[in-house]
Amino acid sequence: MAEALLDAPTPIATSRPADRNRIRALLAQPKVVFAGGFILFLIMLAVFAPLIAPRDPLEQDLLAGTLPPMGFTGAEPGFVLGTDDLGRDVLSRLIFGTRIALIVAFVASALAALLGTLLGLFAGYFRGATDAAVSRLVEIWMAFPPVLLSILVVAIMGAGVGSVIAAIAIIDWTRFARVVRAETMAQAQADYVVAARVLGFGRLAILFREVLPNVAPVLLALLTLEMGIAVIVEAILSFVGLSVSSDTPTWGGMIAQGRQIIHQAWWVFAAPLAALFATVLAFNQVGDGLRRALDPVMQR
């Protein structure tokens, strides 16, 4: 994923473009507007799922099992995306599935960002032993396959949304720590930090009042990209059977279930996969757009 591209610190902007210009640069990208609109749409779906979904996502009707989506022979009106083998409405399950996906996306990436940013700021600003310790920890962390580590964490903590969120935060903080560390190192050399130091501000005050705001743009882009990654990790854990209980509809769980009956009812597999794809793409496009809009170099 594009995250590797963020590793190089951005050259320091001598004069930060006005925030209004940044927003304008962001909205000038049609991809970003479209993707952002899609994410808003997903949030609406998640919040108003009971009102929007045509049926109860858990309601089984064994007589209406494996109905194909509209437009295919054998489809029945009222089941737009068909039904699964237990006769549950795929569309309704898809809509309710946005809830878990978005909760995990927002909470887990926020936690990962918090953890990684703090460690990255300290490592990049204080350097020395702090930096050595954090860098070593990052390296050890990266030696674990992330999927394996997340499964390990969830297996230890027990299945559930909380464990999934914890797993993502515990694993993906390194993405933030790496980038924030590099960025902080670059910013700490800048004149305004030296000036603040000469004025006698404390180290922590400088770090949070002077350095953090300048690291924030990169952080925001990274956070958005991380949301897409979190959605994927949740889906992977659901797919392996380690996310929430099977009663709650999740995209990953639907995919795992659809994989079992893929030869009888491919749509049970295809619908959540498409939703997953679109969501990841949307977060990625917004994140990429943010990066372009906030990056002083790319604005030229």
């Binding site: 590797a4 674990f144 396959p145 394996l148 996969l273």
Partner: protein, 324 residues
């Protein structure tokens, strides 16, 4: 440095598993076993010792080539690893090769047709590719190439008869070397979807970074001089610019190669491909401590080796570093 990282990995995984609630022995005993039986089992796997002693025993064993006995499979862990690792290595090597070929060719083609509509198409498609992770690619392949238009086998590594016919666990490489192309073809067919799913995210990053490095190189004076010598455009890109673009690209994409190794875990699971990745998921779900420890150590070693190889590659590709 590499050793420190590996040791850190060992410590982290060891602690993670020991602080976890739940008893690994609980799931391997038959219902109605006596407390005495349980205690005996715990003693057999060393689980009744203090933490530090357990770690010491395990570390000592590893240094002597003894990774312990898998609890769930009841087999020697080292044996299991040597059986399964070749499958994952073959898959990862093929995926890397695919990614480098695909990414390299696309970046070169994009540079050849720069400032045309074709380049815009490449950039747009690559923008999509950068967003899609291996998990989604793998599932999409299952749906499209496995079910809707079933041209490729959906799971496994080869036809079951193959196992007996070969003497190593490197099915593809061995069959290619010994000229048994029927087996090679069968193994390769099983490998296409998982390898592509692993390769595409890496290829996307290679395209992005290599293309940027190439267009940077193409405006250098030495390319102008070569152009005046009458070289073709292809030779300017692939002969003059490429050799100066590959080193920086490798340095910037290095971390992505390690992501590919991590990706084998879920991709192998999706295609029921019998490598160490799919075994790792089962090991975690079964709380098979010795097996998990062995597997994580192998993944850690792969990570360290890849990083060393990339550092060596970057140095070898830079004439300034090559000549000290």
């Amino acid at each position: 440095m590499a050793i420190v990282t590996l040791f850190g990995v060992a410590v982290v995984v060891f602690l993670l598993l020991r602080v976890a609630p739940g008893d690994p022995v609980a799931m391997m005993i038959a219902p109605g076993a006596s407390a005495h039986d349980i205690a005996e089992l715990r003693a057999r796997y060393g689980l009744d010792q203090p933490l530090l002693v357990q770690f010491g025993i395990w570390l000592d064993g590893i240094l002597h080539g003894n990774f312990g006995i898998s609890i769930s499979l009841r087999r020697n862990v080292l044996e299991l690893l040597t059986e399964r690792l070749p499958a994952t290595l073959e898959l990862a090597i093929v995926a890397c090769a695919l990614a480098v070929l695909l990414g390299g060719a696309t970046a070169i083609a994009g540079t050849l047709i720069r400032r045309t509509r074709g380049e815009a198409v490449i950039d747009a498609v690559n923008g999509l590719m950068l967003a899609v992770p291996d998990f989604v690619w793998a599932l999409a392949f299952v749906l499209v190439l496995g079910v809707l238009w079933p041209v490729l086998p959906l799971s496994g590594r080869s036809d079951p008869s193959v196992d007996a016919a070969l003497s190593t666990h490197f099915y593809l490489f061995e069959s290619l070397i010994t000229g048994r192309f029927g087996i090679a073809r069968d193994t390769a067919a099983h490998m296409v979807m998982p390898a592509l799913a692993l390769a595409l995210p890496l290829a996307a990053v290679i395209i992005r970074i290599l293309k940027e490095a190439l267009s940077e190189a193409m405006i250098q004076d030495y390319v102008l001089v070569a152009r005046v010598k009458g070289m073709t455009e292809l030779r300017l890109v692939a002969g003059e610019a490429l050799r100066n673009a590959v080193g920086p690209t490798l340095a910037l994409t290095g971390v992505q190669f390690t992501f590919l190794i991590g990706g084998t875990v879920i991709v192998e699971r999706i295609f029921a491909y019998p490598g160490i990745g799919s075994m790792a998921i089962d090991a975690v779900i079964n709380r098979d401590l010795p097996l998990i420890q062995g597997l994580v150590l192998v993944f850690g070693a792969l990570f360290v080796l890849i990083n060393l190889a990339i550092d060596a590659g970057v140095a070898a590709l830079n004439p300034r570093l090559r000549h000290g």
